[in-house]
């Protein structure tokens, strides 16, 4: 019994780490598309779009697999949790999936056509879906966090489970977080380019977004208090230290940005987002689905959890060096940008 308990928590923690990685890496990818969308007409937007593209290009596919990772761990280790979430929330999930298809396909196709009209069409579809997808993912998080996904197949309301104040808050915050992360990361990328023409551009935008998210989060307190009391209680008790860390890290990222300390600003921004995600987990634990379904009760049998832990360890041993190689290879400036 105790063995299952530990194993379930270990798998959960790994899954949550995967979710955090998705938010930090995949989120920044989405955010890149967000800034692409707002970059203005073709002429004005060319320079920032190029930088965005340069930063996302080699890594977006790998970043995107984190989501798959979270899903497969969830469905194998907490089958009832996955079945309940996916069946009740099939509408926002379908919309998010279609957004991902539009986004990935448009990004890949953009270079393979030469007519400006098609390029613009693909570009617009990439940018638009980059905004819509995290919104729907955020509504899903809001649905789970506010206890609107009861355990059972399609046991929740397929509409109001994700169209409600907490979900909307989740959606807006998700889009904001993506834009913020991307803005901060892109500042550092821009600083690596000779002359730093885009540094100011992304700096202003990152700072503004950070302030805006702060305001949304403050308003969110009121929303959660009224709409998701259980979550609110959790966030203000067990989750409180993490929420405080998040707020502090967010504020310091603004200060660091303004002072042009870009690398520490990146770290602070990532920490702010990480702390929110784990704050949510802390607030909701021990429930996988509120009310009533604990992590323990939802967990797969011990044999499965052990097989999962084994493959997660072996997989990580293969994955982490590969990922590190990918990122170091591409996060050094291009040695010989040949034309």
């Amino acid at each position: 019994m105790n063995g299952t308990f530990t194993a379930a928590n270990a798998v959960l923690a790994i899954m949550w780490t995967g979710l955090t990685a998705y938010a930090l890496f995949g989120g920044a990818d989405f955010g890149g598309g967000f800034w692409d969308l707002l970059a203005g007409n073709t002429e004005r937007g060319r320079a920032p779009r190029r930088l965005i593209e340069h930063s996302i290009g080699p890594v977006w596919e790998a970043n995107h697999v984190w989501l798959i990772f979270v899903l497969v761990v969830l469905w194998t280790s907490f089958p009832i949790g996955f079945a309940s979430i996916a069946s009740t929330l099939y509408i926002p999930l379908t919309l998010a999936a279609l957004g991902m298809i539009a986004r990935g396909a448009a990004f890949a196709f953009r270079h393979s056509v030469d007519q400006p009209l098609l390029q613009q069409l693909f570009g617009a579809s990439f940018a638009f879906s980059s905004m819509v997808t995290p919104f729907f993912l955020g509504t899903i998080a809001g649905a789970v966090a506010s206890g609107r996904v009861p355990p059972g197949i399609a046991a929740g309301d397929v509409i109001t489970s994700w169209l409600n104040p907490t979900s909307i808050l989740g959606g807006v915050l998700a889009v904001g977080i993506c834009a913020y992360l991307a803005g901060v990361y892109l500042c550092a990328d821009a600083a690596g380019h000779p002359g730093q023409p885009l540094l100011e551009y992304f700096l202003t935008r990152a700072v503004r977004t950070a302030v805006l998210i702060g305001l949304v989060a403050l308003a969110g307190i009121v929303v959660l208090h009224a709409d998701a009391p259980a979550l609110f209680d959790g966030l203000t008790s067990r989750g409180l230290p993490l929420i405080a860390i998040s707020a502090a890290a967010g504020l310091s990222s603004i200060v660091l940005l303004v002072r042009r300390r870009l690398a520490p600003a990146r770290v602070a921004a990532a920490l702010a987002v990480t702390a929110v995600i784990w704050g949510w987990a802390a607030a909701q634990y021990p429930y996988l689905l509120q009310p009533g379904l604990t992590v323990q009760a939802a967990a797969a049998p011990a044999a499965t959890l052990h097989a999962m832990l084994l493959s997660l360890v072996v997989g990580a041993a293969l994955l982490v060096p590969s990922l590190a190689y990918l990122f170091t290879l591409f996060h050094r400036p291009d040695p010989a940008p040949e034309q």
């Binding site: 798959i68 469905w75 996955f82 079945a83 999936a97 393979s112 290879l329």
Partner: protein, 470 residues
């Protein structure tokens, strides 16, 4: 095509069911699953088969200083990049659908059926990483390191296919658990992966992926040669993938025989449907084609003792027919049987093409130069895709009405959420657009109009030196 056949069968089945919204949602859920899987699988085949071919071309190009091979490697890498990207996005929705459409399956069996998908997730993660390294690292890495960085792509692509097919094999021949008092107990996910169908199905699938890639790429160059492009670049572009596919074709038939024997042993109801056999007994004939009505097969070509011989290597071997299966548990026979015959027919046709190539090569160290040969190669890519789709339709429809053979009915696994059908319409529309776009972009990559701009590379890097067309 095959999917159309499925459609027809269901249109009839569904007219009776439409009154019942739950049944109609089941129908739409099945169609949505079939559509997105049938789409994904075509692209995914290139993720399994292409890396090795690209790497081979790069290796030959660099080792022998062969500019044509080098140019082929670059062009193929770009196509691989596009295909990989759409493979990845079309795979994502599949994993959502597992829960959106079949929560009953995931809830009950996720702990066992879900496990290979975790391993698959790692495999594709690694594949995605190294595809990124390979495509973008071309100008950054020394050739030797670049070639080495391609190897994990090959390994991960094949491993991923193995894992995911083992999940499908488990649906066909589930193992690794017990059912006691209606509860699923004694779960062992490793034993689930080691089910009786995994070995034959995954071998057959990986070979199928290589055939689709090989014939598919060769057919592009065959079209080009029919249009008068005969440089060495085009000849190599045809010969390399075609040789790979030609070597695979005979092996695939041997594996096909193996897989049929596994089905006969472990899924007798499916075998009966594949062969449209109603009467159980010895001396069972092999029936090709025909339409199955009221437990009779009309208009088929019969080979006496054929089936008994194939399954038991004995003309009087006993083969179970559909009469052994209670009517409500019989799969739709026509779709299953005709898809199966289509796959096998194409398998032998492709074997013939491979033999033609082999003969000419043996005689003259060159491929046949007749226009008919080129026409056949031009068709072979589409034919291999049709065989692949038909094989899957036979497998999946032949398992019905079970989602987990003899354990769980498809209708008990489907989601009870209202309005599933609208999801299907939406997905259908998006896939139509995606298909048009993908075909358009790939045609441009293959076409002579432009030097292919990299799908994944931010700047054009190496321009193919040996000719940018095709």
């Amino acid at each position: 095509m095959s999917r159309h056949g499925v459609d027809l069968a269901w249109t009839t089945a569904v007219t009776g069911l439409l009154a019942d919204p739950a049944a109609s949602d089941l129908y739409h859920a099945r169609m949505q699953m079939a559509l997105s899987l049938g789409w994904h699988i075509v692209v995914a085949c290139f993720g399994v088969g292409f890396p090795a071919m690209v790497l081979f071309a790069e290796w030959r190009g660099s080792r022998r200083g062969d500019p044509d091979m080098d140019a082929l490697a670059h062009t193929w890498a770009k196509a691989m990049g596009v295909l990989f990207a759409i493979g990845a996005v079309s795979g994502t929705i599949l994993s959502f659908e597992m829960g959106m459409l079949w929560p009953g399956l995931m809830e009950r069996f996720g702990a066992i059926y879900g496990f290979p998908f975790t391993l698959e997730g790692f495999a594709f993660f690694i594949e995605a990483i190294f595809v990124g390294v390979y495509l973008y690292g071309w100008s950054r890495l020394p050739t030797r390191i670049h070639l080495l960085s391609g190897l994990p792509m090959i390994a991960a692509g094949v491993a991923g296919a193995f894992f995911v097919v083992s999940a499908n094999a488990w649906m066909n021949t589930p193992t690794g658990f017990q059912i006691r008092n209606g509860q699923v107990v004694d779960i062992d996910p490793w034993a689930g992966m080691a089910n009786p169908s995994t070995a034959s199905q995954s071998a057959h699938m990986i070979l199928g992926a290589v055939m689709v890639t090989g014939f598919g790429v060769a057919s592009v160059y065959a079209v080009g040669m029919l249009r008068g492009r005969h440089r060495r670049y085009h000849r190599l572009g045809l010969l390399v993938p075609l040789s790979v596919a030609a070597v695979t074709a005979p092996i695939q038939i041997v594996v096909g025989d193996w897989i049929a024997n596994v089905v006969a042993e472990h899924q007798p109801a499916k075998l009966a449907a594949l062969e449209a056999l109603y009467h159980s007994g010895g001396a069972a004939p092999l029936s090709l084609g025909g339409i199955y009505v009221d437990d009779h097969l009309v208009g088929a070509i019969e080979i006496p003792y054929g089936l008994s011989l194939l399954i038991h290597h004995d003309p009087h071997g006993f083969v179970a027919g559909l009469d052994r299966v209670p009517p409500p548990l019989r799969p739709p026979v026509n779709v299953t049987h005709l898809s199966y015959d289509l796959m096998v027919g194409i398998g032998f046709a492709l074997l013939g093409l491979a033999a033609w190539l082999g003969w000419a090569w043996w005689r003259r160290r060159d491929f046949p130069r007749s226009a008919w040969f080129l026409r056949a190669v031009a068709l072979s890519g589409a034919a291999a895709v049709v065989a692949l789709e038909a094989g899957w339709v036979a497998t999946e429809v032949g398992r019905q009405p079970w989602i987990v053979y003899q354990i769980q009915l498809t209708r008990d696994a489907v989601s009870t959420a209202p309005g599933l059908r609208y999801g299907f319409y939406l997905v259908l529309a998006v896939y139509l657009v995606l298909t048009v776009m993908a075909v358009y972009v790939l045609r441009r990559l293959a076409g002579a109009h432009m030097a292919p701009i990299a799908p994944q590379e931010p700047e054009p890097q190496h321009q193919p030196t040996g000719g940018s067309s095709l």
